[in-house]
């Protein structure tokens, strides 16, 4: 839906993923959408260089989240949230309903 504005499916999916889950790394985003990590990584780097995202190293992964110090980020997130809320239910269930709540180690799944 936002592909036309953002220029690529990878950019759209990366941003929608981060809006939905708050943070993410290239591997997790790529796995979700069955895309190549390098494609997603390129988008993440571009968004970080543009001041939209910030990142930190967690173990072997570089985790990206929103640069809340950029006043335009809030407006961008509002647009992304509006987009998420009109996506077809099938897409919501397929891509945007991964569990993020912690689960105690040893707790039966």
């Amino acid at each position: 839906m936002l592909e036309a504005v953002l220029g690529s499916v990878a950019a759209e999916r990366t941003l929608l993923y981060l809006q939905n889950y708050g943070e993410g790394y290239a591997g997790s985003i790529a796995d979700t959408f069955d895309m190549s990590p390098s494609q997603i990584s390129k988008q993440l780097t571009k968004l970080e260089n543009g001041g939209i995202l910030v990142s930190r190293q967690v173990g072997k992964a570089r985790v990206y989240s929103w640069n809340e110090r950029n006043p335009l980020v809030k407006e961008l997130r509002r647009l992304l949230q509006a987009t998420l809320e009109v996506l077809p239910e099938r897409q919501i269930q397929q891509y945007y309903r991964q569990r993020r709540r912690p689960r105690r180690k040893g707790k039966p799944a």
């Binding site: 939905n20 889950y21 943070e23 949230q81 809320e85 993020r100 709540r101 707790k107 039966p108």
Partner: protein, 181 residues
């Protein structure tokens, strides 16, 4: 004593367990996915029953043994005739930063279930959505809110203290959408 079988529902299991604990003076309050399952009329399925309790594990084990439950590990119990697990996360009982000192009693044919109220369960699920970005928790909050009147004033005060206004607006819009369907 009521028998636990493969066809026992979460509601029935919760009632049997809650009543057995109550009978020996032990306090435990049903929370988590099983409470969502009960409040959503089974539209959400959970594989375990979480009773928040600060009671000693040995006392809980002794109370559950006559029902046929055995301790699997830590505060987690299994029964040979049901696939549901029972777990007793330690207290304090809280939703986000709010300590819970009063909750609901749900009367059933098999006993009284000590359970978080629908409003407290919505807070519990929204806490996971607000603090951990957990989308399934948002859906569960909507399922509970769809079926039960809530104490909106308490809920909104709580949201304000949790700093979750934006997520709360997402919840309200999601609830509005399912109400319109």
């Amino acid at each position: 004593m009521t028998l636990i079988t493969q066809s026992s529902s979460p509601l029935e299991l919760a009632a049997i367990i809650s009543q057995a604990l109550e009978d020996v003076g032990l306090s435990a309050v049903l929370s988590g996915g099983a409470a969502v399952s009960i409040y959503s009329g089974g539209r959400y399925e959970s594989s375990d029953l979480d009773f928040v309790s600060s009671e000693q594990t040995s006392k809980l084990a002794a109370a559950l043994a006559p029902l046929g439950f055995t301790q699997a590990d830590g505060r987690h119990f299994e029964h040979p005739d049901t696939d549901y697990y029972v777990e007793f996360p330690p207290g304090p009982l809280a939703v986000g930063g709010l300590l819970i000192t009063e909750w609901d009693q749900l009367q059933t044919d098999l006993g009284v279930i000590q359970i978080l109220s629908p409003t407290q369960m919505v807070m519990d699920r929204l806490a996971a959505f607000i603090h951990w970005y957990d989308p399934p928790s948002l859906d569960q909050a909507v399922l509970v809110a769809q079926k039960h009147p809530l104490d909106w004033e308490s809920l909104e005060n709580w949201v304000s203290k949790e700093g979750g206004q934006e997520k709360y607006e997402i919840f309200r819009r999601a609830l509005q959408r399912v109400s319109n369907d």
